[in-house]
Every structure is written in structure tokens, then in C-alpha cells.
Subunit: 160 residues, 2 copies
């Protein structure tokens, strides 16, 4: 693999690290409170298991990226990296889809189920959540690009 | 590829077709109604965009499987099949995660957001939804097995 290509992949992995790490941190620090009839309600990420899953998935992806940058690129390591990249991409896709589904109910509510939207009451919480989801989507898109490249570079020495 | 292996993969694909098709049909036919204070409420899959996404994703996966079974296995076709398998696996993972997230709120509610569980009111709807999710999970697991095999069989002639 050319040195430029290698540097380009490390750059992409660092970008992915930045995206998944900020997604996890922004989600984990999201908080807002509202007062209804003298009662104060707190909105935090750990109020929903889906948001906790989102933080864990992005933390795992960040740890994976850090690990992969320092792994040697000889022997069986590239194959292991491709396998791990596939698993982490599936994990990120799953956590973002679940978070989007819950965030949509938080934003629009669901009249049929009698679930009211909560974003008007806790706007700061919803804004941070939106930021976290955008960072998460950026992360998974970079992951998919890196994955395409790692599959190609594992195939490459066999093809040519 | 040996004839037995080919038959085994077609068998797995037919199983996946059965699973994704039943997931789509069971979800699309899920319905229940409840009467509260003389008002009747209907619970249907199209009350939530997440459940509609689930039906569409499983329908796409079913169509993909049907198409792939009749595709020839020479030239560039196996590579195209691997690429499509990856996309469909991501699509199924995404739809099942989102559906599980919403189904969990339907089952347990979310006290922090003031969302009440609805499964006690519409048990038949929840049971059908559970069946659809289980069929969906079976489908995506078989898809992952087929994907592993197709990646292996694309690599195989290059490796040996």
C-alpha cells in the first residue's frame, strides 16, 4: 500500500474517531429540565435505554478506531481489522437507527399511542440529541468509507 | 463451488426469504382495537413510520433474495451480489433496531417522557409485532451467514 494511501486512511480513521467520540460525549452530557405545576422534570440520556446504547456503541467504535491505528498491517491483522470494521459498522447503524426512531417520537410524538412530543418542554436536551445523532451519522458514513477501503486493500494483493 | 454448497446456499436464501416475507406480512397485518370511554382506538402498523420502514425493509430484502436466486453465478454477478447483500443486511439491521426501540416503549412505556405502555390495551397488536420482530431477527441472522459465505466464495478463487 502506498504511503499516501496509508496516511489518508489514518486521517479518515482520526475523523471517524472525532465523530464517534463527540457523538458519545454530546449524548452523555445532554440534559435539560422543565417545571410543570411546581414539579421539576429532568431529561437525561439515561432516561432511555436506546440513548444509553447509542453512547456505548459510539464509545466502542472510538476504542476500536484507537486500537486499529496502532495495529501492525502485516500477517492476519488486516483480515481481523476488516471483520471488526464490519461489526462496528453494524453496531453504529443499529444504534443510530434506534436513536432516530425514539428521537422522532420525542419531536413529533405519536397521537395514536397517546405519546406527546417532549421537545417543546426540554429544547436544550433535544438540540444536544440532534447534535449527537448528526455526529453519529458522520461517524458511520466515514466508517463505511474506511470499510470499503479495507475490503479493497485486503482483496488488492490477491487480485493483482 | 461444489453443487452441494450451491444447494445449501439456495436453501439458506429460501429460509431468509421465508423469514423476511413473514416478518413483512405479520407486521403489515398487525391490528387491534381498544375501547376507552366509548371511544374506539385502532392500533395498526402504519400508525408509526418505524413500523412502515420495517415492512418496506423486509419487502426489499425478500425481493432481493428472489432476484439473487435467479441471477447467474459468473462474471461480475457474484461481486454485485456481495455488494447488495451488504446493503440489505445493513437495511434489515437498521429497521429491526428502530422497531425494537419503539416496541420497547410500547411494552414498558417511558415514565420520564410521560409515554404510557400500550401493550395492555392492544395485546393482539403487540403479539403480532413480537412475532414480526422475531421473524425479522431470524431473517437478518440468515442474511449474515449468507453474506459471510458470499464474501468467502468471492475471495476463494483468488486465494487458492
Amino acid at each position: 500500500m502506498g504511503k499516501n494511501k496509508k496516511l489518508c486512511i489514518i486521517f479518515l480513521r482520526l475523523l471517524a474517531l472525532g465523530a464517534t467520540l463527540s457523538a458519545a460525549i454530546v449524548m452523555a452530557t445532554s440534559e435539560d429540565s422543565t417545571t410543570v405545576l411546581n414539579l421539576t422534570f429532568d431529561a437525561k440520556y439515561d432516561n432511555s435505554p436506546t440513548f444509553v446504547f447509542f453512547v456505548i456503541a459510539n464509545a466502542i467504535a472510538s476504542a476500536h478506531t484507537l486500537l486499529v491505528i496502532f495495529l501492525p498491517s502485516n500477517g492476519l491483522f488486516p483480515l481481523i481489522v476488516v471483520a471488526l470494521d464490519v461489526i462496528v459498522t453494524l453496531l453504529l447503524t443499529s444504534s443510530i437507527s434506534a436513536t432516530l426512531a425514539i428521537a422522532y417520537v420525542g419531536k413529533k410524538g405519536n397521537a395514536h399511542a397517546g405519546w406527546l412530543p417532549i421537545c417543546d418542554q426540554v429544547p436544550n436536551f433535544c438540540n444536544q440529541l440532534t447534535g449527537a445523532v448528526i455526529a453519529g451519522i458522520v461517524g458511520v458514513v466515514i466508517y463505511m468509507m474506511v470499510l470499503l477501503h479495507s475490503i479493497h486493500s485486503v482483496l488488492n494483493p490477491l487480485l493483482f
